[in-house]
C-alpha cells in the first residue's frame, strides 16, 4: 500500500510517500495511524494531534473510522488552507 504525506505532515514524517506492508490486523484509518505512530519519532510527531490530521483514500476524503480494505493509496495531510 502506498502512503502519501502533504504539507507539515510530510515535513514531520520526512518523506512525501512510501510503500508499506500493512499488518493484517489493521482495518481502519485510525488503526493505521496508531500503528504508524509506533514506527518512529517522526511519525509520532506528525500524528501527535491525531484528530487534526486528515486522510484521503484513493483521493477521496475519509473519516478516521473508514475501512482501508482495498485501498491502493492513503494520504495524510493537515486541514486545508487553499483559496
Amino acid at each position: 500500500m502506498k502512503l502519501r504525506y502533504f504539507a507539515w505532515v510530510r515535513e514531520r514524517v520526512g518523506r512525501a510517500e512510501e510503500e508499506i506492508a500493512l499488518p493484517v490486523d489493521i482495518a481502519t484509518v485510525a488503526g493505521l495511524v496508531s500503528w504508524l505512530k509506533t514506527r518512529g519519532e517522526e511519525y509520532a510527531a506528525a500524528f501527535e494531534h491525531e484528530n487534526v490530521v486528515r486522510a484521503a483514500i484513493d483521493r477521496v476524503h475519509v473519516k478516521p473510522d473508514a475501512t482501508i480494505a482495498g485501498a491502493r493509496e492513503i494520504a495524510f495531510f493537515p486541514p486545508m488552507t487553499g483559496g
Binding site: H61, A75, G83
Partner: protein, 149 residues
C-alpha cells in the same frame, strides 16, 4: 464545466470573455478572485507557497462543481486555482459562475468558495520575518462551509 490548476497567473477578464462568447442565454456572470495579501495569516509576508495534492485537487474541485450544479441552474462554471510560489498582489483562485439570473450565480460562487477553502487539498506556507510558517486552518472557514448543509 471546467477546473484548472496551474502555476501561471490567470486573466479574469479574458476568462469571462471566453465563457460568455457567443452565448445569449446567460443573464448573470459572477466572479470571485482571491488574492495574496501582504498582511498574511502569520503576519507581514513577502511570499507564500501553495502546496497541493495533484490529482485529488482536480477531482475534489470537480466534485464541488458537480454539487453546485445540482443545487443551482448554472449555465457554466470555471474554477482556476494556482499552486507554487506567489507574492502579495498575485491572484490565487478564480471562480466564475454563469446563470440566467443573478441569484444562482452569486449563491453558487459563494458555495464553491466556502467548500473549496475547507475541502480542496491545498496548503499555504507563508514567508515572513521569522522564516516560513504553515498557515493554520480557520474555524470561520469551517463555519462558513457548514452553513450550506
Amino acid at each position: 464545466m471546467a477546473v484548472r490548476l496551474q502555476a501561471d497567473t490567470f486573466d479574469t477578464g479574458a476568462e469571462i470573455s471566453r465563457l460568455t462568447a457567443g452565448r445569449t442565454d446567460a443573464g448573470a456572470v459572477v466572479t470571485f478572485t482571491g488574492l495574496c495579501r501582504a498582511d498574511g495569516e502569520t503576519g507581514a509576508i513577502s511570499a507564500m507557497t501553495l502546496e497541493h495534492f495533484p490529482g485529488m485537487a482536480e477531482e475534489e474541485l470537480d466534485r464541488l462543481e458537480a454539487e453546485a450544479r445540482t443545487r443551482w441552474p448554472l449555465l457554466d462554471c470555471l474554477i482556476v486555482h494556482r499552486y507554487g510560489r506567489l507574492v502579495p498582489g498575485d491572484p490565487i483562485v478564480l471562480v466564475v459562475t454563469l446563470s440566467a439570473h443573478r441569484e444562482a450565480a452569486f449563491a453558487a460562487a459563494n458555495f464553491l468558495m466556502d467548500y473549496l477553502k475547507t475541502t480542496a487539498p491545498f496548503w499555504k506556507k507563508e514567508e515572513n520575518a521569522e522564516g516560513a510558517q504553515w498557515v493554520d486552518a480557520k474555524q470561520s472557514d469551517e463555519t462558513a462551509r457548514r452553513q450550506w448543509r
